[in-house]
Point group: C2
Chain length 424, copies 2
Amino acid sequence: MAQFQATASAPVNIACIKYWGKRDTKLILPTNSSLSVTLDQDHLRSTTTSRADPSFEKDRLWLNGKEEDIKDGGRMATCIAEMKRLRKQEVEDKQPNEPQVVSLFFVTYLTLKLTSCPKLSSYHVHIASYNNFPTAAGLASSASGFAALVSSLAQLYALPVSPSTLSLIARQGSGSACRSLYGGFVAWEQGTRPDGQDSLAVQIAPQSHWPDMHALICVVSDDKKGTSSTSGMQRTVETSALLQHRIAHVVPQRMAAISAAIKSRDFDAFAKVTMADSNQFHAVALDTEPPIFYMNDVSRAIIALIVEYNRVSMEKGLGRRAAYTYDAGPNAVIYTLKENVKEIVELVVKYFPQRDGFKDVFGLFGEAGVQGKVVEGFNEAVAKEFEAGAVKGLIHTKIGDGPRALGAEESLLGEDGFPKTLAA
Amino acid sequence: MAQFQATASAPVNIACIKYWGKRDTKLILPTNSSLSVTLDQDHLRSTTTSRADPSFEKDRLWLNGKEEDIKDGGRMATCIAEMKRLRKQEVEDKQPNEPQVVSLFFVTYLTLKLTSCPKLSSYHVHIASYNNFPTAAGLASSASGFAALVSSLAQLYALPVSPSTLSLIARQGSGSACRSLYGGFVAWEQGTRPDGQDSLAVQIAPQSHWPDMHALICVVSDDKKGTSSTSGMQRTVETSALLQHRIAHVVPQRMAAISAAIKSRDFDAFAKVTMADSNQFHAVALDTEPPIFYMNDVSRAIIALIVEYNRVSMEKGLGRRAAYTYDAGPNAVIYTLKENVKEIVELVVKYFPQRDGFKDVFGLFGEAGVQGKVVEGFNEAVAKEFEAGAVKGLIHTKIGDGPRALGAEESLLGEDGFPKTLAA
């Protein structure tokens, strides 16, 4: 008996123009377009194996080895159902209903096609997914997770569709997941159709267009349980007096400005828009009743460092060379070009001593390691030096590619169709 | 020789609808109207003595015993010059230029008038001012300070003008000072005239209208030097994409809503608007390039306490019973009605233990003192308990009256025309 199985990995993406607000909560249609950078799967990824088998009694899913409940009508159920529907519509239904003997040649052909095209859409699936970054890191894993889910099913089902089409389905799992279907710089176009068929991801530029775009993730400790983005954004939609102005008058011009900055590789313009939009997202969160805060004093201090770093850089005529951005949590993601990463790591470590040392995956620092220091002309009084642990960790990564098809050796499911036990 | 001297005190005011942004930085004309509650001078006040004397060689001013430089064209010089101009225009110029002998009765009359109306506008002034609250408390003293300055000069000059007229001059010292010319609830109407003559304070309701309106000021420690409001607000005007929407579409309806809430003594509505406008002021500050933060983690925690306190209250059908508001710093001012002050002090002290104990000026707690506890049904997990000192002090006060004329025994100037040495 043939085994129908596929494994894919998908990347994390971090938005420069933020998604905050839905116009349709079931279909996950946003109130504004957004744009992100896809990060490198060599460092951060979700990996998912999907198998379809007539012996399976129901759809089941394990996340990091633990079975999740696939709720009827829930987001996972919707994505799986939509993928099965596409399989049927785009693959199975395009086969004739009944083999018809037209000629000897045709009989042979149809038989072969039918053999290579079983009715997988009618089988239940077992799905195992694994994130290579700890949940404690506070990085949203739903984007890479749903992108990997959809990608592995697309591979399993041999769907002849574009990543944009898959993004329509990933979007219904988690809005920002749609942007993880491409590498490089990716826009989620909000669309206007009530059925959401034009609310999808498009690639603005591939990774190869600006490969020096690096990212430093500062994982910030937080003792406060934050508001979930799902409930928070709808409270903003319902109560913020400023959000509609942002949607109608600010985001459209920022989408155009940052797309132009990316196309011309203008880091200063990219940074200006990225930071302004992070600020504005947190501003509308604060303009919500009751107000929502995601950044804390550590987040604020990191902003002060980047603002001062850029001030020095602009004074030298070099423009902005770093851009902070914050999602629905206190972690900072700092975009910068490869040539500046060393200075920025030194800067962050100076104010936020690291307990575990900096994991120098790009080999920037050699044996001396990170000292913790500021660039010349930097006003050290813009922030105080924090205790070790305020920034729990630093992850250095860069722009990356879209979902990858992985070989059978990467499978997360064993021969028995259940998750393998993974080494920690 | 007669002594021409007057002493006045003036109150602090804390805005519910925030002033943030000038359309004219010289005349201090705001981009939107604002509204505040005047606090009780029995607790927080600036006191100012002004003396005019032909022997003085220049205008001089001492603040808390230390001489300040009255810069040409600066805000203090403008206020003093404007007050002298009013003295001349409203008092001195209304006397005939030359005594004319028309009848015996008239000669006598004019002589008397001239004796009681010396040309004080031509004399230099010595001014001593004193704030009874420490600068370290982080309370803006410029509002009460300029209001006391203008009030003492108005008294010295025997000006037959309304507080609204005086507010035009105090406004040029410090925008929000204009609101300290009245007690109770005070609006600063933005006005439309380029010369600013309609940008003045009007009383919405006197103190006696809602005497149970109390305020608890939480003085919050901060290790970060904040952005001055003068420079901060203009950066917001120049760079925030949201401020213009706030000015044109949000503030006008909030001014109407809070005025109606005050008139009908509807605390729930008053609280809702007050908190929303505090949030929005900090939202547009954050929407500034680079972003401005005034609240810190302690401020955020106090918000979380008030939000939860109100949630419990609303669940009981009592509506909101507390309203936080934050100016350009981390201190919280909590408005509440007298009957709720005890609960709120207990709540704040539970999370923010006090080093020096609570100064119970209204005698609420008796011998047992403050225990630190929450109301029934309160979710204690909304904030963590902080170390003693995170909230440095609590000041309990209430709504108060406008500037007061004080007797000669309160004079801050000695017989020699120089500041008395004040006991600390």
